[in-house]
Structure formats: C-alpha cells, structure tokens
Amino acid sequence: MELMFALTVGLLYAAGFFLVMRHSLMKLVLGLIFLSHGANLLIFSAGGLESRGLPIIAEGSKIPQYPMPDPLPQALILTAIVISFGILAFALVLVYRSFRLTGSDDSDQLDSTEK
C-alpha cells in the first residue's frame, strides 16, 4: 500500500513538473493542479495507511477499537484542498485573460514588458 502511494505521489510530482515546464499556459495550470494533488496525497499517506475503518472512536469508548490512521492530516488536506481550489480557479481565470489579451497560449509570448 505504501509503495503504491509513494509511486502515485512520485508520478503526480513528475507529471506536474513536466507540465509546468511546457510552453502552453493551459498545461502550466494542469501541472500546478497535479502538483497540489501530489502534495495532498503525500500528506494523506503521512497520516498512516489503514484500511480497517474511519478514524472515529466509537461512542462511549475512550480508545480506538482498531488501529486507525491519524485524522489530523486529513483535516490538513481539507484545508489545503480548499486553498488550492480558490487559487487554481484564480489561475484559470488569469490564463484565460492572458489568452484573450495576447491571443496565444504560449508562455514565450509573455514578454511585452521585457522588450
């Protein structure tokens, strides 16, 4: 299980960095999405991987009945997902705006202030 998660996280990061380095701005946004998913999955696996049940202690009991994953990373991911939702929505709008202004999706065209 750990190996699968590690490979998936690695794959997401690799794909993310690859896409970020492409010319196309749309691929840039996709790459950023992959990167944030990779980070989220990494935090998720940092909490421990247990498939036996939810990290909720049964009512009336003070200790867990079975080994359970740490619930805190899941709360952290929730926060991170909310934040990346907002920021990636903004990034999409930004890329769309840029497309409307320059008529191009190529990041090499973003040089009007450099000339």
Binding site: V82, G86, A89, F90, V93, Y96, R100
Partner: protein, 137 residues
C-alpha cells in the same frame, strides 16, 4: 446556452439546491457536511441559473451583490470568535447556550454554528464573485 429543458430544470432545482445546502450546513454540526459544502451547493444553484439564462438573471436571484455576502460572511465568522472575549477565554473558543424550546425540546446553540454560517456565506459570495464576471465577458 439556449435550452428550454435546462431553463425549466434550473427554476425547479434552485429551491431544491438551496434547501439541501441549508440541510448540509446544519448537518455539518456533528456529521459530514458543513459550511463549505453547503456554500458550494448554494452557489451551484445560482451558477446553474447563470448557465441556463445569463448573469443578470443569476444576480437578480442572488438579490445582493456577491461581495456583500463575502463581507457578511467574514463578519459572521469573526463574531463567532469574539464572543469568547466576554468570558475571558482565548479567541475562537467554542461557547454554547442551551435553550428549552417547548415543542422541539433542548436546543444547543453554539459559536461553531455561527462560524459555519460565516463560511457558508463566504463560499457562496466567493464562488459567485469569481464566476459572474467570467460569464459577463
């Protein structure tokens, strides 16, 4: 988009979405749900209006401008933290009052619910804030 089916569906679905969003908001107290999902569901009601008709129609249904929702929500969430000051507790401490209501029984009102309500409005306002100008272009 010009589709009669979508328009009719949007009109019928709007109250369903809104009631479901309030349900999610209240349920979030002790079970999965909460202000964030509730706000997203409520916003999707208006986004559907926007897709089926236009942004003016969605604005009309929303009644207030999105930023008003944002401001209101932020104040609402903030006020849930301020209550603790009057009891000399740290910022954002959860406080509860118990009300005995004749028919319903015991009602526990707490500041976390107020915070969730704030989140609900902020998400609703925020989503509409991003999407309405996109449609206008």
């Amino acid at each position: 988009m010009n589709s009669v089916i979508l328009r009719v569906a949007a009109q019928i679905l709007k109250p369903v979405f809104l009631i479901f969003s309030v349900f999610l908001l209240l349920r979030g107290h002790n079970a999965p749900g909460g202000g964030f999902v509730g706000g997203l569901v409520a916003a999707s009601a208006f986004v559907l209006q926007m897709i089926a008709f236009d942004s003016a129609e969605a604005r009309r249904h929303l009644r207030f401008e999105p930023h008003a929702f944002l401001g209101l929500g932020l104040l609402c969430a903030l006020s849930s933290g301020i209550w603790a000051f009057f009891q000399a507790k740290p910022f954002l401490t959860g406080l509860w009052i118990k009300l005995q209501i004749p028919v319903f029984g015991l009602l526990k009102l707490g500041t976390p619910a107020l915070f969730d309500l704030g989140v609900y409005f902020v998400v609703l306002g925020g989503v509409m804030f991003i999407f309405l100008p996109l449609k206008d272009e």
